[in-house]
């Protein structure tokens, strides 16, 4: 392992610099920053930070990688998608906020301090709120407001857990607290329970998820991709770090199971495809939460591969949704027919991404779910496992049925730009490669 601070500082500086270079060319600068960021994130796999201000291990690395990958894809997609003059905010401001949003997520993952993690998560709300209203419709303004007030009120509640961590341990350093190995007590139970409800607002845990379908459906496609693909996992990462203090397994798993049941039922009844994908995100985040809550190497590996594959598949699903909205000018499943004949590229990306987000083999999400389900059975969580299996199957059927309706039939329309199609297709296809690559190591993870 190489010990150095420079790459970890660079990870924050790259999108930070792109944000500072506010001007006519900041769109292209953002794409260049995305490429450099992905390369830097891959290279730090073999490094550990020298400074105690950073805490990056292999778990954090997966989160950094997924944030940088989805940032690159969303910046590239936005080049064409956002047009020259978005109605809500200017193109320059859009890319400025996209970069600040990325910096705040990366900061939350890298920093070795629970208090600053909270600050980073709250900063993501500030940076991303105006991105939702880029299209300036009455619905997008309302969705923005709901996002601001519900998430801020919820994350403020999570601050109680930060105060209690300081009260209990006298420090907010993640590494110091985790190395103390204190016996669980009432205070640590309150800490993780309050964090579950507080950060759960951002992650999409029932019943504090209500902003999620609105913001996802009204934000522009590249922003929805960032929300689903990386914002919710960033909050989940912070919750996971707090959960490590005192694993309150029963509470976390039951909240996740109820959230999966709720999201499956809701997504089965959706008329709008973006809202359907938003509920699917809620379902996947809660499956990953079960993985982290079980806290075995297999379940954590399952949660990580699920989140990584989901981030790209879901980004692909939202890019495909953006293409469909440009072609068909609707968000309703029932108004879209013959996508495979009208726009085969977008049709293929939508099909691949919907299979990816529902956990079909050989996508990485499938192997992630298998590992988590295996860990649930290993822990004799039979009732929870049965419920999750039934409702995951329901989501699989509902999403793929709706997508097949959109793909089939005849329709004659002019399709969207080819670059938008390619980005959606690339994003949807990578999780297959991830799944196949993971096949090679799955045996060693389980044993």
């Amino acid at each position: 392992m190489i010990v150095s601070n420079i790459p970890f500082i660079l990870i924050l500086l790259i999108p930070g610099t792109a944000a500072l270079l506010y001007g006519e060319r900041n769109d292209q600068i953002s794409v260049a920053a995305g490429i450099i960021l992905v390369v830097t994130c891959i290279s730090i796999y073999w490094m550990v930070p020298a400074s105690p201000d950073f805490f990056v291990n292999h778990v954090s690395w997966v989160f950094l990688l997924m944030i940088s990958a989805v940032y690159l894809l969303s910046a590239s997609y936005s080049l064409k998608y956002m047009g020259e003059k978005p109605s809500g905010i200017s193109r320059k401001t859009f890319f400025l906020l996209l970069n600040l949003f990325t910096v705040s997520m990366l900061f939350s993952i890298e920093v070795n301090n629970y208090g600053l993690m909270w600050v980073g998560i709250e900063a993501t709300t500030i940076a991303s709120a105006l991105l939702i209203m880029s299209e300036r419709s009455a619905e997008s303004l309302e969705a923005t407001w709901r996002y601001i007030i519900i998430v801020s009120a919820g994350v403020a509640f999570a601050f109680i857990s930060i105060i209690l961590i300081y009260y209990q341990f006298g420090t907010l350093s993640v590494t110091q607290i985790l190395s103390m190995n204190r016996a669980p007590g009432l205070v640590t139970r309150i800490i993780v329970s309050v964090a579950l409800i507080g950060f759960g607002t951002k992650i999409g845990i029932f019943p504090v998820h209500t902003w999620l379908p609105d913001a996802h459906s009204e934000a522009p496609a590249p922003v929805s991709a960032m929300f689903s693909g990386v914002l919710l996992p960033s909050a989940l990462y912070v919750l996971y770090r707090i959960y490590e203090i005192d694993p309150f397994r029963e509470l976390f798993i039951w909240f996740a199971v109820v959230s999966i049941i709720f999201s499956s039922i809701m997504l089965s009844n959706q008329r709008m495809f973006k809202r359907m994908f938003a509920y699917s995100t809620m379902e996947n985040m809660n499956i990953a939460l079960i993985g982290f809550a079980i806290l075995t190497p297999a379940s954590i590996a399952g949660a990580l591969i699920l989140l990584l594959s989901h981030s790209l598949s879901k980004a692909g699903a939202f890019y495909s949704s953006g293409n469909i909205m440009k072609t068909f000018d609707t968000k309703e499943v029932g108004d879209v027919h013959g996508l495979m004949t009208t726009d085969p590229g977008t049709g293929a990306s939508l099909l691949l991404s919907s299979l990816g987000v529902t956990g079909a083999p050989p996508f990485g999400t499938f192997f992630g779910e298998i590992l988590i389900f295996y860990s649930m059975l290993e822990y004799h969580l039979t009732v929870e496992f049965s419920l999750v299996l039934v409702f995951v199957a329901l989501s699989f059927i509902a999403i793929n049925y709706n997508v097949s309706r959109m793909l089939s039939g005849d329709s004659v329309r002019s399709s969207c730009s080819s670059s938008l199609r390619y980005i959606a297709l690339i994003s949807s296809a990578i999780p297959i490669a991830l799944g196949i690559a993971f096949l090679g190591v799955i045996g060693s993870v389980i044993t």
């Binding site: 301090n113 208090g115 600053l116 909270w118 600050v119 709250e122 900063a123 709300t125 500030i126 709120a129 105006l130 209203m133 009455a138 619905e139 303004l141 309302e142 969705a143 923005t144 407001w145 709901r146 601001i148 007030i149 801020s152 009120a153 403020a156 509640f157 601050f159 109680i160 930060i162 105060i163 209690l164 300081y166 009260y167 907010l172 009432l186 205070v187 309150i190 329970s193 379908p213 609105d214 459906s217 009204e218 809701m266 009844n269 959706q270 709008m272 809202r275």
Partner: protein, 213 residues
């Protein structure tokens, strides 16, 4: 002894400002209620700074006055003359909301307090663990204000009340490092600025068909 009695008195006044805000239909009165609340919490911070000889608490008090007391109040009040919706909140049945508010906060605070917080003994304890009832009551007042009103400015004030309760909670239990507290204050300030920008065009929030389900 005198200082702890003063802290107790000021904490009670903080709660009175929360009830005052809850009982208002005029937006300016609510904003000023929030201003007094922030000043009262800053005063508690100064008193505890005197008691503990802590410069961190002095900085915290100054931050409260400058960021939350002055800047947030100016930002919110500047919106009032521009729009009719910002002067007076329509369709608000204050006596009814007041009764519901009382029931809500008494039930929720005492359930949560007795289940979780009753065993925590704050640093500056003047009533034992019951000190924490003040911030908890304020927190749920803020939540109730957000959920019971439809005007943007009122909901922002509810959120600020919630944040004020966290400052009070940290002050009583164990003040967290001032650098973290300052970052939190700046976050909240930025959020208030964004709220003001977003809601130039949407002062009132109703149910929308496209956002159902």
């Amino acid at each position: 002894m005198i200082i702890t009695s003063l802290v107790y008195l000021l904490s009670a006044l903080v709660l009175i400002t929360a009830f005052y805000v809850q009982g208002q239909r005029y937006i300016v009165s609510m904003i000023r209620g929030q201003f007094f609340q922030s000043i009262l919490i800053a005063s508690i911070s100064f008193l505890l700074a005197w008691l503990e000889r802590s410069t961190d608490l002095v900085i915290l008090g100054i931050l409260l006055i400058v960021l939350r007391g002055i800047i947030v109040t100016i930002l919110l009040e500047r919106r009032v003359p521009d729009r009719k919706h910002y002067i007076f909140e329509d369709n608000v049945n204050v006596p009814y909301l007041f009764i519901i508010d009382l029931i809500f906060i008494v039930v929720s605070v005492f359930i949560i307090y007795s289940l979780a917080f009753s065993s925590l003994v704050p640093d500056y304890s003047f009533l034992g663990s019951s000190d924490l009832l003040f911030p908890l009551l304020l927190f749920f007042q803020g939540i109730f204000l957000i959920t019971s009103r439809k005007s943007t400015i009122t909901q922002v004030i509810g959120y600020i009340e919630e944040e004020n309760s966290l400052v009070l909670f940290a002050l009583f239990l164990l003040p967290i490092p001032v650098i973290i507290e300052a970052s939190v204050f700046l976050d909240v300030l930025a959020l208030v600025i964004i709220s003001v920008i977003v809601n130039k065009e949407k002062p009132v929030h109703e149910v929308m068909e496209a956002l159902r389900g």
